[in-house]
C-alpha cells in the first residue's frame, strides 16, 4: 500500500515539476511571431503534408508572408487559395501542384532531313551541335541545355525538342542553394 502511495506521489511531483518547467518556459521564451504569418497559418489546412515544398504549414505560411505564391497547397484547394487571396488582397491563381517546374528538354536533329547549313551550330550557345557545311549535324545530348535557340534558325525545321526522363546515368546531386547566396539583383528578380 505504501509503495503505491510513494509511486503516486513521486509521479505526481515529477509531473508537477515538468509542468512548472514548461509553464515557465512558455512565458520566459515566448517568441513574438509574425502576425501576418499567423493569420495565413490559420487559413492553411494544417495537414503538414509538405506538398508545397516546405516542411509543414507554418513554414509555408511564413514563406507566403515573405512573398511566395499562394497556390501551392493541394489539400486546401481552391477554397484556401480564395481565402488567402482575400486576406492578402491579391488575385487568386489556379492550383499549382507541381510548383511550375518544366521537364528537362533536349534538342534532337532528324538527321535524314538535315541539309548541313550550319545555322543551328552558330545559334547554339553551348557548342552542343557538331557537324560541318553540307554534312549532317547532330546534338551532343550531355552538352545540350534544352534552350531551344537552335529550333528557330533551322530552314528545314528538322529540329525537335524532346523530353529527357531522368535516369541513373544523367543523375547528379542537386546544386546547393542556401538562402542568402543570391546577389542583390537576382534576389529582386526572384522576389
Amino acid at each position: 500500500m505504501s509503495l503505491v502511495l510513494v509511486a503516486v506521489v513521486a509521479i505526481l511531483l515529477l509531473c508537477l515539476a515538468c509542468g512548472a518547467l514548461l509553464g515557465y518556459a512558455a512565458v520566459r521564451f515566448k517568441v513574438e511571431g509574425d502576425p501576418i504569418a499567423e493569420q495565413i497559418n490559420a487559413l492553411l489546412p494544417q495537414t503538414q503534408c509538405g506538398q508545397c515544398g516546405y516542411p509543414g504549414c507554418k513554414p509555408y505560411a511564413e514563406a507566403i508572408a515573405n512573398g511566395d505564391k499562394i497556390n501551392k497547397c493541394p489539400p486546401g484547394g481552391e477554397a484556401t487559395i480564395q481565402a488567402l487571396a482575400d486576406l492578402l488582397d491579391v488575385e487568386p491563381e489556379p492550383l499549382d501542384a507541381e510548383g511550375g517546374e518544366k521537364p528537362q528538354m533536349v534538342a534532337y536533329i532528324r538527321e535524314a532531313e538535315c541539309i548541313g547549313c550550319t545555322k543551328c551550330i552558330q545559334a547554339c550557345p553551348v557548342d552542343a551541335i557538331v557537324g560541318a557545311a553540307r554534312q549532317m549535324h547532330t546534338v551532343i545530348i550531355s552538352e545540350c541545355t534544352g534552350c531551344d535557340l537552335c529550333v528557330e534558325p533551322c530552314p528545314v525545321d528538322c529540329i525537335d525538342m524532346i523530353e529527357v526522363g531522368r535516369n541513373p546515368q544523367s543523375w547528379t546531386w542537386a546544386l546547393p542553394t542556401p538562402p542568402g547566396t543570391l546577389i542583390a539583383t537576382d534576389r529582386e528578380q526572384a522576389a
Partner: protein, 194 residues
C-alpha cells in the same frame, strides 16, 4: 577511456540501433527520400537522443531507484522525454531561429520515436552505466542513426530514378535496400563484445 571508445563503436556499428536492433524504423523509411531532409532529421535525432539519455539517467538514478519504483520507468521516461523536447524546442526557437528552421518539425516528431525510449530503457537496464557513459551511449546511438539514415537517403535518391521493375517500385525496393544494408551491418558482429 577504452570503455568509452567501445561504447561508441558498439552503438554506432556493431549494435546499430536501426539496422541491428530495429529501433527507429519509421523515420528511417519515412524521411529518407531526400538527403537534405535526412540530414535535418539526423541532427534532430542525435540532439534529442543525447539530451534524453542524460535526463532519463538522472530520473532513474535519483528518483526511481532510491524509491524502489523501477516499474514506473516507462511512464516516467516518456514524460521526461516529452517535456525535455518541448522545453528544448521553446529555447531553440527563442535563442536560435536558424537552428530552429533546420530542425523544424522534426524536433517534436522525434519525441514519439521508439529509438528515444529504447536508448533510455537500455541505459536503465545497464547497471554499470554512469552518467557519462549513459550520455555517450545516447550520443553514439544518434550518430549510428545519422550514419545509416544519410547513407540510405543517398541510395534512395538514386533508386528513385533507376529502372526498377514495376512490382518493386516505391517502398518495396526501399525495404529490400534496408534489408541489404542490415545484412551488410551484420559484418560488424564480433568486432567487439559488449
Amino acid at each position: 577511456m577504452t570503455e568509452l571508445a567501445l561504447i561508441m563503436v558498439s552503438a554506432i556499428l556493431v549494435n546499430n540501433f536501426v539496422l541491428v536492433q530495429f529501433l527507429g524504423l519509421c523515420p528511417f523509411m519515412g524521411v529518407s527520400k531526400k538527403v537534405e531532409t535526412a540530414i535535418g532529421l539526423a541532427l534532430a535525432t542525435t540532439f534529442v537522443l543525447t539530451l534524453t539519455a542524460m535526463c532519463a539517467y538522472l530520473v532513474q538514478e535519483y528518483l526511481l531507484e532510491p524509491l524502489g519504483l523501477e516499474f514506473l520507468r516507462t511512464i516516467s521516461f516518456i514524460l521526461v522525454i516529452a517535456v525535455v523536447v518541448q522545453f528544448t524546442e521553446m529555447v531553440v526557437n527563442k535563442t536560435s531561429p536558424l537552428l530552429y528552421r533546420v530542425l523544424g518539425i522534426f524536433l517534436p516528431l522525434i519525441t514519439t520515436n521508439c529509438i528515444v525510449l529504447g536508448v533510455a530503457l537500455i541505459n536503465a537496464n545497464r547497471a554499470e552505466f554512469t552518467f557519462l557513459t549513459a550520455t555517450l551511449h545516447g550520443f553514439a546511438a544518434g550518430l549510428g542513426f545519422s550514419l545509416v539514415l544519410v547513407l540510405f537517403a543517398a541510395m534512395r535518391e538514386r533508386i528513385a530514378i533507376a529502372d526498377v521493375p514495376r512490382s518493386f517500385q516505391g517502398p518495396a525496393i526501399g525495404l529490400i535496400t534496408a534489408g541489404l544494408m542490415s545484412l551488410a551491418f551484420m559484418g560488424f558482429t564480433g568486432l567487439i563484445k559488449l
